[in-house]
């Protein structure tokens, strides 16, 4: 077999599992010099895992490596760390800026690769005492910037720059490496305005013309079509489509992204006959300043007794809605519960109004990791509802017996695996920790419950249990539930209605029975 040309990058049969949980399955694709590959897929489709493998990130090695081969210029490579990947000419620009705020663009572009001048002292004490060659640094930096085809002041300090310039600086840093062959851009346009994004797309074109291959990950599908020559769509750890960009359109890509064989029987949810159509909460013009999940001008009515789903892609603001209403992040607008306005930015007032919230940030917000399960479950109910307390004259005392009893009740009900109610929360597995968070909210006996990403990072068995518990809580206690999740199928299996958030706004509310394609279109409708 004689190939006339060896591809720049070949990914052959790559697979990856995290402790038995398959996230990538038999991935195959090739890239030539100057290719721009658009990589799309829902959250959790396996995009970022694939990129982590290509970039040799430590997590991959620490979790047992991967299967298959990554071949660069005909050589099989096996990266021990991302520094190896850099050496082989792969550069990656991550979602978060990786820049030193007080340094100039030049200093950042050449960080730890500064051209140096030898001197007497460094001969004795080692290379680190070489002085920096400022003029050569500036030259190199400006050269890298010019490769991008944009204008940035190379002497400007990063924290005085507009966001777009920061993004360009990061890309320029990768381009300044002499052996750069493959550039991975992970959602680079996410933080940019439309105008800025356009410039960036142009730059990608310029870069590709120089023979550098680019992998471009984004949720903005039209960007892919405008700049890429090839599109790969991933879903559930598989490549479902690998087509030239010319031969497809946004609708098709959306369909491939979300369209899976819909298991009708699971998603069908017998509608509740005696559901009232009373609005329990109405949200008006809500904005929330939650970093990475900004919410803009959201209005939403929640019907009493329903399970409302809020879905959407990551970073579009769906998480900001409950966090803003509950006062955990700064918010503005109006929230009216049963005709009474609830002040924002005050968790206490929300809790007093009989609303409970299960946060997506289990370890940070959801749990007292260093305390017992008893404390975790009983604490909010004790503080808000004065439960589990006894009185000795004027002194209110913790009622340890009642706390133990209620904990035992929930341990049994939710099948929490633990050595006892006095075990510390941090010793539990993710799924069981999630159940503790639910129990904590249930113990408050709320009228309205917000649940944020209840199944994130937990295994399939626990997932089913958690969803079932929510469903039962809604049915048996008549509690209105608002569930926020990135997994559309999960929402469709539990909820009555699903609101899709895109670009910080509600792009539409559909009944759960609606087709996946329709939801998919809403998800990408005004992604910014």
């Amino acid at each position: 077999m004689t190939e006339k040309k060896v591809p720049l990058l070949e990914v052959r049969n790559v697979s990856k599992d995290f402790f038995g949980n398959k996230v990538l399955n038999d991935i195959n694709f090739t890239m030539e010099e100057g290719d721009v590959l658009g990589l799309v897929g829902e959250n959790g489709a396996g995009k970022s895992t694939l990129m982590k493998i290509l970039f040799g990130m430590d997590v991959i090695r620490e979790t047992g490596g991967y299967g298959g081969e990554v071949i660069i210029n005909g050589n099989v490579v096996k990266f021990v760390s991302s520094f190896d990947a850099l050496e082989s000419g792969i550069g990656m620009v991550h979602q978060e800026f990786s820049l030193i705020p007080g340094f100039t663009a030049t200093e950042n572009i050449l960080l730890n690769r500064e051209p140096q001048k030898y001197n007497v002292i460094s001969e004795i004490f080692g290379k680190r005492l070489n002085t920096l060659n400022r003029s050569s640094m500036k030259e190199k930096a400006e050269d890298a910037i010019s490769k991008l085809g944009v204008k940035i002041d190379s002497d400007m300090v990063i924290n005085r720059m507009p966001v777009a310039h920061k993004q360009f600086t990061e890309i320029a840093r990768e381009l300044s490496k002499d052996n750069m062959k493959l550039l991975i851009l992970d959602e680079p346009t996410d933080v940019l305005t439309e105008k800025e994004a356009e410039t960036l797309l142009e730059s990608i074109g310029t870069v590709a013309k120089r023979g550098i291959a680019v992998i471009f990950i984004t949720h903005r599908l039209h960007e892919i079509l405008s700049v890429c020559n090839k599109v790969i769509v991933m879903r559930d750890g598989l490549i479902v489509k690998d087509v030239p960009a010319k031969e497809t359109n946004v609708e098709e890509i959306t369909k491939w992204m979300v369209g899976r064989k819909v298991k009708e029987q699971e998603t069908k949810r017998e509608s509740d006959p005696d559901k009232s159509n009373k609005t329990i909460m109405s949200v008006k013009n809500l904005w929330v300043d939650m970093p990475g999940e900004t919410v803009r001008n959201v209005s939403l009515d929640i019907t009493e007794g329903e399970i409302l789903g809020i879905g959407g892609l990551a970073g579009q603001g769906k998480l900001g809605i409950p966090n803003g209403i509950m006062g955990l992040y700064e918010a503005g607008g109006k929230v009216i519960l049963k005709g009474k306005e609830i002040p924002l930015n005050s968790p206490r007032q929300c809790l007093d109004a009989n609303i409970a919230f299960v946060s997506e940030d289990r370890r940070g917000v959801g749990l007292l990791l260093d305390e017992t399960l008893e404390w975790n479950i009983a604490f909010p109910a004790m503080q808000i509802k004065n439960k589990f307390l006894k009185k000795y004259g004027p002194i209110t005392w913790r009622d340890e017996k009642a706390i133990e009893k209620v904990t035992e009740k929930y341990v049994e009900e939710l099948q929490i695996k633990c050595t006892g109610t006095k075990q510390n929360a941090k010793e539990l597995s993710g799924g069981n920790q999630q159940k503790i968070c639910l129990a904590k909210a249930f113990a408050l006996e709320p009228g309205l419950l917000f649940v944020s990403e209840p199944t994130r990072g937990i295994d399939v068995g626990a997932k089913a249990l958690v969803l079932d518990a929510l469903r039962r809580f809604n049915r048996e206690k008549g509690v209105t539930v608002v569930m926020i999740s990135s997994e559309l199928e999960e929402l469709r299996s539990v909820c009555d209605r699903i609101a899709i958030v895109s670009g910080g706004k509600i792009s539409g509310i559909l009944p759960a029975t609606e087709s996946s394609e329709k939801f998919g279109m809403l998800m990408v409708s005004n992604v910014r």
């Binding site: 200093e107 920096l132 001008n297």
Partner: protein, 372 residues
């Protein structure tokens, strides 16, 4: 670096940014006339004190660059310098050679202590300052163990005149008469009553040049990067922990030299107490000069030395003149030293938090406008 792009000089922001130095200028402006010292005396005292202290304070700059805050562990270097001086005294090596030898002896001790201190600070990231501060007390205990018990018994000391009468342990005061001001007097220029220790000043100038040069080196650049964002620096392959340890080692070694310069000016070594306050006074002086926990320049050092020591010299007399009790002034200057450190630390922490909330508010404002 071009920091101020807009040239319009705003008086209000100037006072806000330099509140501590401005406050000290005011204190001095009130106290100097009240204390009634002749100008010549003040000038001569200030010059002496610059020569005595500036080197020590310069030793603080490097860890600040590496983002490790005020190096309360600089006392470790001071102890190393003292050990060097004790040996030199015992070996009867006088004058400049003695001082040079003491510095040489202090280097390995400083490096060892600096390495230890840096390693422990790496284990306590985010609380470097309190760790360095406790480190003082810990190493001070070990210093006492060595100097008070081991010297003369395990570590040979030839001349019993620096030993305690009991036969081991170093005396509470060691006379440095043979080294007294030998650096200062090497090229001393007298203008009227004012003696200018030119050679010491040359050393300090060289040290300043070293720092300026060091900022331009690769290591200096790495330290600045580590100081601003450890994770980003690590991602580009800079050895973060090692860089931080090196910065502490450098600071410790320089503090050792600084202590020797300080003591040769004083002319005697109070073995067990000379180092105990030195860190506090140096840090206070640096802060008075307008430095903060994360930013300090050579200018801050000199302004700080002048203002802080001016206050130190005039406070007792001024206090006595105002209240009729000279002790008031003594206590006042101690209070001011601690107070200025407290204020500087509090402002630094509060600023960190304010920066965060400001970013949030800006975002909210933008959305509000869009929401309309």
């Amino acid at each position: 670096m071009k920091l101020l792009k807009n040239n319009s000089f705003n008086i209000l922001t100037f006072f806000k940014d330099n509140s501590v130095p401005v406050m000290f200028v005011l204190i001095c402006a009130v106290c100097i006339p009240v204390a009634g010292f002749p100008l010549q005396y003040l000038l001569s005292e200030i010059i002496t004190r610059i020569g005595r202290n500036a080197f020590l304070i310069l030793a603080l700059l490097i860890p600040i660059m590496a983002g490790m805050g005020l190096n309360f562990g600089m006392t470790l270097g001071a102890m190393a310098g003292e050990i060097g001086l004790i040996f030199v005294c015992d070996w009867r090596i006088y004058g400049i050679p003695g001082i040079v030898l003491a510095m040489i002896i202090s280097i390995p001790i400083s490096v060892l202590l600096g390495w230890l201190c840096g390693t422990i600070m790496n284990m306590a990231k985010g609380r470097e300052m309190i760790t360095g501060y406790i480190m003082n007390y810990f190493i001070n205990g070990i210093y006492q163990l060595i100097v008070l018990f081991c010297m003369g018994s395990i570590i040979p000391i030839k001349h019993s005149d620096i030993l305690l009468p009991r036969g081991y342990g170093i005396r509470v005061t060691v006379d440095l008469i043979n080294m007294r001001q030998s650096l200062d007097n090497l090229i001393a220029v007298r203008i009227g009553m004012i003696k200018i220790p030119v050679f010491t000043f040359i050393l300090i100038a060289l040290m300043c040049l070293f720092i300026v040069w060091f900022r331009k080196t690769k290591l200096g650049q790495d330290m600045r990067a580590v100081g601003q964002d450890m994770e980003v620096a690590r991602a580009t392959g800079i050895t973060v922990e090692r860089t931080r340890i090196i910065s502490i080692i450098m600071s410790t070694v320089l503090a050792g030299f600084g202590m020797i310069i300080y003591l040769q000016n004083i002319g005697s070594l109070t073995t067990y107490t000379a180092h105990s306050q030195i860190g506090m006074f140096c840090i206070a002086a640096l802060l008075v000069g307008g430095a903060s926990v994360d930013k300090a320049s050579i200018g801050n050092v000199f302004l700080g030395v002048i203002l802080f020591h001016l206050m130190f010299i005039v406070a007792p007399n001024a206090g006595a003149a105002i209240t009729g009790d000279s002790m008031i002034g003594e206590y006042f200057r101690v209070f001011v030293s601690y107070g200025v450190i407290t204020v500087a630390l509090a402002m630094y922490e509060a600023k960190k938090r304010r920066a965060k909330s400001l970013a949030g508010r800006k975002l909210a404002q933008a959305q509000k406008e869009e929401a309309k």
